[in-house]
Symmetry: C2
Subunit: 423 residues, 2 copies
C-alpha cells in the first residue's frame, strides 16, 4: 500500500475471453453515461451513472465480509428489509480506481457526499441513490471529483451503451463483461441486460466483483430480491478465483417496470418462469466471464462433484478443490494430478470415503475406487489437459448431493500481478 | 500424475534455513539406521529404521484428512485408544519417495507387508511397528523393496545419527530438520530429540509433514498422548504453507523409559513441568523450520492476532490471513498491504468491526481504527518489508482472544515447484 505507479489498462486480453461480444439492446427506463473523473486512472472512463425511471424496483446481494466497504453499507441501508416493497432506485453511481473500503469516517462521508451530488443531478432522494466503488483499498475517496462531472453525466445519459458502462467499471479486468437475454412475461417481451467486472482481488490493491443487471420487467422489489438470491447461488456464488473475498462485492438487480405487463408481486408467480431462466442465464454468463478473467488465468476449470452426502456437502468439497493452490498449480502445469484432488476432498472435512472415490479429468476417468484407474490412456489425458477448458469431476459414492463451481488455474502471472507491481 | 523425471535433491537451500544445526545427542533406547532402498530417488537414502527398546511408550497425532493414507490408518489402528497404557512401539519405518496414499487395497497390503518385514528384523510384533510414507500419491508402494535392506538396517542401527535420519525422510525439503532439548524430571536429566520433514504438499506430487520425537523419559502412553495433543496446538497446528492438508501428516512421540526416574503415569503430574516446556520447545522449533522451508518461501511471516472474541476466533482469523493468496503475494512483493489484511479478517466470518481494527507490519502501526494510520513513516515500513522475518499483527478490539501462527510468502517459485515440473 505504498506509493507505486498508477496502473494502466492491462495490455493483453485473457486467452479465455469470449470470442464474441453480444449486441446489447437498450432497456426501457435505464439511461447510462460514463465520464473521466480522474479518480486514479488517466485516459479512460472511471465513473458510470445509471438513471432509472421513477418506480424502478431494486434488489441487491453483497459481500459476506465482516469488514464491508462504505458503499456496501450505504446500499444495504437503502435497501431496508428484503421483504419491503418500497425498495426503489433512481440512480446508480459506480466508480473505478478507489474502493472506498477501510477509509473510516471519511469513507462514510464520501458515500453521503457522492449520493447528495447524484441526487441533485438526478432529481431524486439520496435514499434512491445506490453506490459502488472498486479499486484501491484504504485510500480516502475524494467525492468532490464527482461534482464537476455529475450534471453533465445526467444530461448525456441515454438508453443503451451497456458496453461503455462495463468498460467504465473495469479495474485490471482484461475485457469488459456484458450479457443479455429476453423472456416473455405473459404476452410481453422483456429484456435483461447485465454488466460485471473483475474476479477476486486484482492488483495493485484492486478489489471487488461488481455486477449490475437491469430489466424493463415490472416486478416488485421483494420478488426481485428473492429471485436474485436464488439466482446467485449457482452462478456468482459458485465462482472462486483465489478464495479471497472482497470487502466490496456487490450485485444489484433493477426492474424499471416499463414493459407492457401487469406488475408481478411474488417470486412464486408462475408467469415469471421464463424470466427466472433468462435471469439465471445472464447471471451464469457474467459469472463465467469473471472466472475466465481471473488474474493470470490460462485455463477455465469446471469442477463437478456428485454422490456427496448432500448438495451443501458437494459445494464445500467443490470449493475445497477449487481453492486448493496445489490443484490449481497442477492444472496450470497441465498435469491431471488426481492425488491432489484426493487431498482437497480429504481436507474439506465432509463425508468421504477414499476407497469409493472416482475422479475424471476432461471426461476421462483417471482414478476409481481409491486407486489409479488402470484402464486410462495417459496420452489421451495429457492431450485433454492442454485444452483451455478443463472439466474436473469427482464422484464420492456417498449420496445424491451434487454441485458445480467454476475456477481458473494458478499461474506465475497471478503472483506477478499481485506481488510484483512495485515500481 | 503422468510420467516425469525423477526429482533430485533440490539444489538451493532456503534462505530462511537456520544458520546452525544443533549437535544431536543420542537418546538411550533409540537406535537408528538409514539405507538406499531405491523406492524413487537415486543416490540418496530413502528408508529410516528406528529400533526402540522394549517398553517404549508411543503417542501420535495424524492428519485430519477424510482420505488419509494407508500408513496413517495403520498407525491409528496400532495406537488403540488415547487412554490406553498399552500403546507400545518397538520399530518405526519411514520411507520417502512414495506416500502410499490413495493406493487402494494394494496400499493396505503394502503397509502390512512392510510391518511384517520390520517385525521380523526387529524381533517384535507387527502391532509394535509404526509406519510413515512420504512422496508421490497414487502410485503403488512396492513393499518388497524393504526386504533386502531391513535385516541390514536392524544390524547397523545404533544410538544417535538423528541428522542422518532427518535426511532420509526428506522429499523436496531444502534442509534436514532436527531439534533437541533437555529437561529434569525429579533429579534425572532426560533428553528429547526430534526430526521433521517438509511443509505442505511438495512437488512433484510430494505430500506430507512428518515428524518423530524421541525421549528417554519414562512416561506412560496416555500421558504422552495428552502432552503431544497439547503441544501440537500452538506449534505444528499453527503452521500453514498453502492451506492444503496432506493425506499423510504424522507426528509421533516415543518415550523409551531409560532415564533414571520413576515412571510417570499422568500428564498432570507436576514433575512433568520442565519436560512439557522442553517438548514444546522442540515441537515449536521443528514446526518453525517447516514454515521456513515452505515451497518457494523467501520470507517467514509471523501472524499475531489479539483482541479477538476468543482464542478460537483469533486462530480462525490468523489462519484466514495466513492462507490468503493475496496477503502472501503482497508480502512476496515486500508490500505492507494492510487492505488485504482487512479483506482476510473480513472473510474469516468471525466477530470483527472494521472501525476498531489496527494493523502492524514489522512492529509499525500502519492502520488504526478503520483507516490508514496518518503517522506512520512509509520509508521505515518499506525497510522492514525487505527483512526475512515479517511480523504482522492485527488488533481487533473485540475481546481478549489471541493467537499466533506462522506461514511464508507466496512466490513464483511456489507455482514453479508445483506446476512446472513436467519434463
Amino acid at each position: 500500500m505504498t506509493t507505486r505507479a498508477v496502473p494502466s489498462m492491462p495490455s493483453s486480453v485473457s486467452p479465455l475471453a469470449p470470442k464474441h461480444v453480444p449486441d446489447m439492446p437498450p432497456v426501457a427506463g435505464v439511461r447510462l453515461a460514463t465520464a473521466q473523473a480522474g479518480i486514479r486512472y488517466k485516459g479512460r472512463t472511471d465513473v458510470l451513472l445509471a438513471l432509472l425511471d421513477e418506480g424502478t424496483a431494486a434488489a441487491g446481494v453483497f459481500t459476506r465480509s465482516k469488514c464491508p466497504s462504505a458503499p456496501v453499507e450505504w446500499c444495504r441501508a437503502n435497501l431496508k428489509s428484503a421483504k419491503s416493497a418500497k425498495n426503489f432506485a433512481r440512480a446508480l453511481v459506480v466508480n473505478s480506481g478507489n474502493a472506498n473500503a477501510f477509509t473510516g469516517k471519511s469513507g462514510r462521508e464520501a458515500t453521503k457526499a457522492t449520493a447528495q451530488i447524484a441526487a441533485r443531478s438526478a432529481g431524486c432522494k439520496t435514499g434512491e441513490v445506490f453506490l459502488a466503488s472498486t479499486g484501491v483499498i484504504g485510500e480516502p475517496l475524494d467525492a468532490t471529483k464527482f461534482a464537476p462531472v455529475m450534471d453533465d453525466l445526467a444530461a448525456r445519459a441515454r438508453e443503451g451503451d451497456f458496453l461503455d458502462a462495463a468498460k467504465a467499471i473495469m479495474t485490471t479486468d482484461t475485457f469488459p463483461k456484458v450479457s443479455t437475454a429476453t423472456a416473455k412475461i405473459g404476452a410481453a417481451k422483456v429484456t435483461i441486460c447485465g454488466i460485471a467486472k473483475g474476479a477476486g482481488m486484482i492488483a495493485p490493491d484492486m478489489a471487488t466483483m461488481l455486477s449490475f443487471v437491469f430489466t424493463d420487467a415490472a416486478i416488485a422489489a421483494p420478488a426481485l430480491q428473492a429471485m436474485l438470491k436464488d439466482g446467485v447461488a449457482n452462478t456468482f456464488n459458485a465462482v472462486t478465483i483465489d478464495g479471497d473475498t472482497s470487502t466490496s462485492d456487490t450485485l444489484m438487480l433493477f426492474a424499471t417496470g416499463k414493459a407492457n405487463h401487469p406488475r408481478i408481486a411474488r417470486a412464486s408467480d408462475p408467469r415469471l418462469k421464463a424470466f427466472k431462466k433468462a435471469l439465471h442465464d445472464v447471471l451464469g454468463n457474467l459469472s463465467e466471464q469473471v472466472a475466465r478473467d481471473g488474474e493470470g488465468a490460462r485455463k477455465l476449470v469446471e469442477i463437478s462433484v456428485e454422490g456427496a452426502a448432500s448438495n451443501a456437502s458437494a459445494r464445500k468439497i467443490a470449493m475445497s478443490i477449487a481453492n486448493s493452490p496445489l490443484v490449481k498449480t497442477a492444472i496450470a502445469g497441465e498435469d491431471a494430478n488426481w492425488g491432489r484432488v484426493v487431498m482437497a476432498v480429504g481436507k474439506a472435512g465432509e463425508p468421504a470415503d477414499r476407497d469409493k472415490l472416482s475422479i475424471w479429468f476432461g471426461g476421462i476417468r483417471v482414478a476409481h475406487k481409491g486407486a489409479r484407474d488402470p484402464s486410462y490412456d495417459e496420452a489421451q489425458v495429457s492431450a485433454k489437459m492442454k485444452e483451455q477448458v478443463i472439466p474436473l469431476k469427482v464422484a464420492l459414492g456417498m449420496g445424491k448431493g451434487r454441485d458445480r463451481v467454476l475456477t481458473c488455474d494458478l499461474t506465475k502471472d497471478y503472483v506477478a500481478i499481485n506481488g510484483d507491481y512495485r515500481s
